[in-house]
């Protein structure tokens, strides 16, 4: 027997009009963590779906599992062989309980009249959650959980299955860094037990932390497989994108104009305290800090999702009264949340219909009908600037890869033509090539007079895109840096600001209160 648990060779998959996979190879050794990387739309998820029996590959491929012909034609076959998949778009049942969601599928091959044993189901589900150090009520319906918690439920399901191979398609894109750490610990444990893992992510740093081997895809083709020792980040990027992508620190001084937006004495118990910030015309303001430092909470309070206890807002010469997110939208504030994957996309509708949703009223012509031509032009413009692939405005959103779906969501918020845009982790789930495109787009928006506040925990991104950096720590602004004078070390020193805060409540704790409210 070979030491490969999984061998896929000459795998092709053609969708009507798209060759998503073209002669691809993926070989995974027993007990290794194998990273599968490539740009948005490179075919990663499609390859996984072939592996899982969701899609049948074109003729001519070779697919062996544990050394013998896999013979997998439907998802159940894969499950029975010990393959578990955590899909990018999750596959949970919102109307069922946590326990049922974790257990489901274990007995899909049993007779329909088999009795369900709730007790052993809960035991098993509880054990899987314990392993993930998660404390969730097993009886709670999954639709009442946060996206991050839902993601953990999926992972728990894979653990509960006693799988031999677990595939995780971008499991970390909606997890906080604390949860990501937990996941890594679990992956280490899996490895010790000899379980193989395929891990898909756009965060190369985390891949170097967990993976033993890389397989790179580009435009549906196999580029190569590499051991972690024989390659570095830059080389990987070059192989993924086909060219070098370098982050260059912003070296140009922005022509700063009038003040456009101001936050005065903003406080919210347990989240942030005494926040004062101003945004000037022509600049991108970055807000950074560790997870739990209150960045996202601040943005959400500005946007009216959870109201601040104290403080006022001021936009373009006017004091603002914002009690809800609707108010904020009416005042011209747009907020692109970090977890966009499942939000605000009508999957069966076309890209056009999704993108122009917020501006549909403005697009009406004299007859009060929607002007299809203008609509299409607008969409094509965003498709181009966000590099949505394939660039077909009429394609249904569910035919797009996960990352491209995210770009459509971003385009949707941008098309609303806000006066102030707050964008949270703008390049989460987006490949390294498209990242620079999004950065350019933000620059352009600023030039057009839109105020941009970017929240990001990726320091290279912060340093290359912004003009000014606010670093938050424990719910306060720990310091402000001019990007021209900043470097990673200076930012980290502020972010790690070790002075004891007055209020002892940890932002971590604040987060979990939110969870419990649900």
């Amino acid at each position: 027997m070979s030491d490969y648990i999984l061998e896929m060779e000459h795998i092709s998959k053609t969708f009507p009009g798209v060759k998503a996979l073209d002669n691809v190879e993926l070989k995974v050794k027993q007990g290794e963590v194998h990273a599968l990387i490539g740009e948005n739309g490179a075919g990663k998820s499609t390859l996984i779906k072939v592996l899982a029996g969701v899609h049948e590959a074109d003729e001519g491929g070779r697919y062996l599992f544990e050394g013998i012909d896999a013979d997998i034609h439907r998802p159940l076959d894969a499950t029975l062989k010990g393959i578990s998949i955590i899909y990018q778009d999750l596959s949970l049942f919102p109307n069922l309980s946590v326990a049922e969601n974790i257990y489901i599928g274990r007995d899909s091959n049993k007779k329909p009249w088999t009795k369900i044993n709730w007790k052993s189901m809960k035991e098993l589900a509880g054990k899987a959650l314990d392993e993930l150090e998660m404390d969730i009520d097993l009886n709670k319906r999954v639709e009442l959980l946060s996206i991050a918690q839902q993601q953990m439920i999926e992972i728990a399901r894979a653990l509960a299955f006693d799988s031999k191979l677990i595939v995780m398609d971008e499991p970390t894109s909606s997890l906080s860094s604390g949860e990501v750490e937990k996941l890594y610990r679990v992956i280490d444990k899996l490895k010790e037990r000899g379980i193989s893992v395929i891990f898909i992510s756009h965060k190369l740093k985390e891949l170097f932390r967990v993976s033993d081997r890389f397989t790179v895809l580009r435009d549906g083709q196999f580029v190569g497989s590499y051991d972690v020792e024989e390659i570095d980040e830059q080389q990987l990027i070059k192989r993924m994108v086909g060219r070098e992508v370098v982050y260059e620190n912003n070296t140009q001084k922005a022509a700063v104009g009038e003040k456009v937006f101001e936050v005065k004495n903003f406080s919210k118990e347990g989240n942030f305290k005494d926040i004062n910030l101003s945004l000037y015309e022509g600049e991108i303001l970055a807000v950074t800090g560790l997870v739990g430092s209150g960045r996202t909470e601040l943005a959400q309070s500005i946007f009216g999702v959870n109201k601040a206890d104290e403080g006022t807002l001021w936009l373009n010469g006017k004091d603002l009264k914002i009690n809800s997110s609707e108010d904020a939208v009416k005042q011209g504030i747009a907020y692109v949340p970090e977890a966009r994957q499942t939000q605000g996309l009508v999957l069966e509708q076309s890209i056009v219909n999704n993108m122009t949703l917020p501006v549909i009223d403005a697009l009406r012509n004299k007859l009060k009908l929607i002007d299809r031509k203008v609509e299409k032009e607008l969409t094509e413009q965003y498709i181009k600037s966000l590099d949505v692939r394939p660039s077909m405005p009429d394609l249904a959103a569910d035919k797009l890869s996960g990352g491209n779906q995210q770009k459509v969501v971003i385009g949707k918020w941008l098309s609303a033509q806000p006066k102030l845009l707050i964008i949270d982790e703008p390049t989460n789930g987006i490949d390294i090539g498209a990242k620079t495109e999004i950065h350019k787009l933000l620059r352009r928006m600023v030039k057009e007079g839109i105020g941009v506040i970017m929240i990001s925990s990726e320091l290279p991104e912060v340093l290359s895109v912004s003009d000014r950096i606010l670093v938050m720590s424990r719910g306060r602004i720990a310091g402000e840096l001019n990007t021209l004078e900043a470097d990673q070390e200076k930012v980290m020193n502020l972010a790690l600001d070790t002075e004891e805060p007055e209020d002892k409540r940890q932002p971590e704790g604040a987060e979990s209160t939110v969870h419990q409210e649900v």
Binding site: A52, V54, R74, P75, L76, T79, I85, Y87, L90, S91, L92, F93, P94, N95, L96, I104, G105, D107, S108, N109, K110, K111, P112, W113, T114, K115, I116, W118, D137, N139, K140, R141, E143, L144, S146, I147, A148, S174, S176, V291, G292, T296, E297, Q300, F303, V305, N306, S325, Y335, P337, E338, A339, T342, Q343, G344, D424, E511, V514, H515, V518
Partner: protein
């Protein structure tokens, strides 16, 4: 989870109780045991059908052929009675054959929906017409009355145990076993799962087509049981007696908290929905309100309840979207 589910069922329960209180003032007869036996026995057919419909609606489908299907089975029973001897054996035989015929008719719906993948509303509208056309052809629209029934069946329909009519036991049996199926069997969970998320269900290895096939066949099975109940209750077969009943059945299910979009619905909820419609009907009869006003009021209640539910549903979803934003960190 339970809190929310219960809340919903509680609100139906609360309305039921309020109406009961009002009606007990309007009519002294309302709260008597005899009246309640009448209400329950008279709604056994609707109740049994609503229980089957609950499963179909949970899978986000609909079956508008139920009343026609039940009538078709009832007519078959009527014809068979002409040849069956007067013995308990005939009653047993009917209990075997009627559900079987129902299952076959239901399976026909099921095949069209799951294998050929025609939308259920189209399929069942078609079979509704086929079933009722055949019924009219074979009966010429005429009653089959009890003179042709075996005495043993008449005796069966008069059985009371502890002062409770046999049909109420039948109703209870159907309700308890279907509740059990939904809560404690694999197939029941699969029904809920495909209603919750069809794509996920195939990914975890649930056979979507088989489950669809099951809900329609089970609906047919219960249609057969309902046909026996109907024949026993009216001691006759009326080819037009159940016309339009499918709407009441669907209304009861939706009133009971099942959602047309699928995924949500429960047997206790549906029972409350049936009860709510039943006591309103009963109350208006006791209060001597004209039949057409009865229909208007019933219709209005259904519209209000369903819109309320839909609005609530959307509001909850909006809230959830907010929570997502809130927790995106």
């Amino acid at each position: 989870m339970k809190a929310l589910l219960k809340q919903k069922e509680f609100s139906v329960l609360a309305i039921v109780i309020i109406i009961c209180v009002i009606l007990s003032f309007v009519s002294p007869v309302f709260l008597t045991v005899g009246n309640w036996m009448d209400i329950l026995e008279g709604n056994t057919v609707i109740g049994i059908l609503a229980i089957g419909m609950t499963l179909i609606i949970i899978t986000s489908d609909i079956d508008v052929s139920v009343a026609a299907l039940t009538t078709a089975v009832a007519v078959s029973i009527g014809f068979m009675f002409q040849y069956l001897p007067d013995s308990w054996f005939s009653v047993v035989l009917i209990f075997l054959i009627a559900p079987l015929i129902g299952m076959l008719l239901g399976a026909f719906n099921g095949i069209l929906v799951s294998k050929i993948q025609i939308p259920a509303i189209v399929v069942t509208l078609g079979t509704l017409n086929i079933f009722s056309g055949l019924v009219l052809y074979f009966t010429n629209g005429n009653y089959i009355n009890s003179t042709q029934f075996p005495q043993s069946f008449m005796a069966f329909s008069n059985i009371e145990i502890l002062g409770i009519p046999i049909l109420i036991y039948l109703f209870a049996l159907v309700a308890v076993s279907t509740w059990f199926i939904l809560k404690y069997t694999l197939i029941g969970r699969s029904v809920l799962a495909i209603g919750g998320n069809a794509q996920s269900s195939t990914r975890v290895g649930i056979n979507f087509k088989k489950v669809k096939m099951f809900v329609f066949t089970y609906m047919g099975f219960l249609g057969g049981v309902a046909a026996i109940a109907q024949t026993s209750y009216t001691t006759a077969v009326d080819p037009n007696g159940l016309m339009g009943l499918e709407l009441t059945v669907i209304a009861a299910v939706v009133l009971g908290g099942a959602n047309i979009h699928g995924g949500r619905g429960s047997i206790p909820g549906t029972l409350l929905g049936v009860l709510l419609l039943a006591i309103m009907q009963n109350g208006m009869i006791l209060a001597r309100i004209d039949t057409f006003w009865q229909n208007v009021v019933t219709g209005a209640i259904i519209v209000i309840a369903v819109s309320y539910d839909e609005i609530n549903h959307r509001r909850n979803q909006a809230k959830l979207a907010n929570i997502d934003v809130k927790e995106a960190s």
